[in-house]
Symmetry: C2
Subunit: 214 residues, 2 copies
């Protein structure tokens, strides 16, 4: 749940309703009347508190993205082996997406529009506050390659592969779960296995292992 402590009770009701409606229907598709109904307040109050639909969207987006970047920034600790870094990153990223089902759609929708909000926030929040997560991930990857822990594989490619493997379950869920019923029936179990699978396949690959020593 968002920490909206700085808001009054009414403001918070509007904020949470807006978050829900914007995620479902997008910036244009969302209706102020629906937001007001969901919040259980009058439509005019939205303008009283947030001035306009655009400002409301801006506030909601900024809040969600800031929290997203900050939480992801906590996943990478400089001293760890790359296996640990990878495991923590995947674990935290999937939990984050699972706890915020609206998040992938929120971001992807913005990206589809040319990422006006994201590009703004990348410079404003990601780089200064979250310590540039991509850069820290690739650094950890490259150090591990120098130490001989892993093969010298392009670290940016690896990052994109790992992030894609994590996010696609959530982004593709409505279609995937229609074709594969157990995603819905055993979602928790499948997600637990998903974390293990990604680390396992990225780290060890599909090939049979010569000997097991783990």
């Amino acid at each position: 749940m968002p920490d909206t402590a700085a808001y009054s009770e009414t403001e918070e009701k509007i904020f949470l309703a807006a978050l829900e409606e914007f995620s479902r229907n997008g910036r244009q598709g969302a209706r102020l009347q629906d937001i007001a109904d969901r919040a259980g307040i009058n439509k005019a109050l939205i303008h009283y508190y947030f001035r306009s639909k655009d400002r409301l969207y801006n506030d909601v987006f900024t809040f969600v993205i800031r929290r997203y970047f900050l939480q992801m920034g906590e996943t990478i600790r400089p001293g760890d082996s790359f296996e640990t870094t990878l495991r923590d990153f995947v674990d935290r990223y999937i939990d984050l997406l699972d706890e915020n089902p609206a998040l992938p759609f929120f971001i992807l929708r913005d990206i589809a529009e040319g990422a006006p909000m994201m590009s703004e926030k990348v410079g404003e929040v990601l780089l200064p506050h979250a310590g540039n997560i991509p850069h820290r991930f690739t650094e950890s990857c490259e150090r591990a390659a120098r130490d001989g822990e892993i093969r010298p594989i392009d670290s940016v490619q690896t990052l994109i592969t790992v992030m894609g493997a994590c996010i696609y379950f959530f982004a593709g869920y409505p279609v995937l779960s229609a074709a594969i019923p157990r995603l819905k029936r055993q979602r928790r179990r499948f997600l637990r296995e998903r974390k293990q699978h990604i680390v396992d396949i990225v780290y060890y690959g599909l090939k049979p292992r010569p000997e097991e020593s783990e």
Copy 2:
């Protein structure tokens, strides 16, 4: 480029402009005036040819998805080793996304809205015409595990990992390329390497290999 041979010249101009605008701004966000401007024709002509905005969207979506499913259906040949299956699948999938930059956003946007169109088309096009690609991929994966070519890893997890690894480059491009300049500067080269990387990392993993025999 879509094969819109059945359309007149004006229809085709509208169709292509609509494809572009719907991808960028979504079903709701797209404006008929913008579509008309992009096509270089009058707004009323859209209604003359396509009756309504909803029908236009429906036509565009159906066309794009049908072609997408059909092209993906060609990638998996039953007799191949899983390494070949994987390589062909990744190669074709990335080419397809590269040739149709609007495609990921088109699909993801529909999914964000609860996938009303996709769920319809999955039943109508994917299953009967494209021979159920996910099923064929997982079958190939499971047979390879029985034959000892690969480890007995959950084939559905593998499919989701591979698709996510392919699509995320395109879906995340506007943000990724802002943080990593070479994605834009050397796009063609990076994409070529991306195909190799995905097959390599999924099949062999990050761990150093005991001996090279390829």
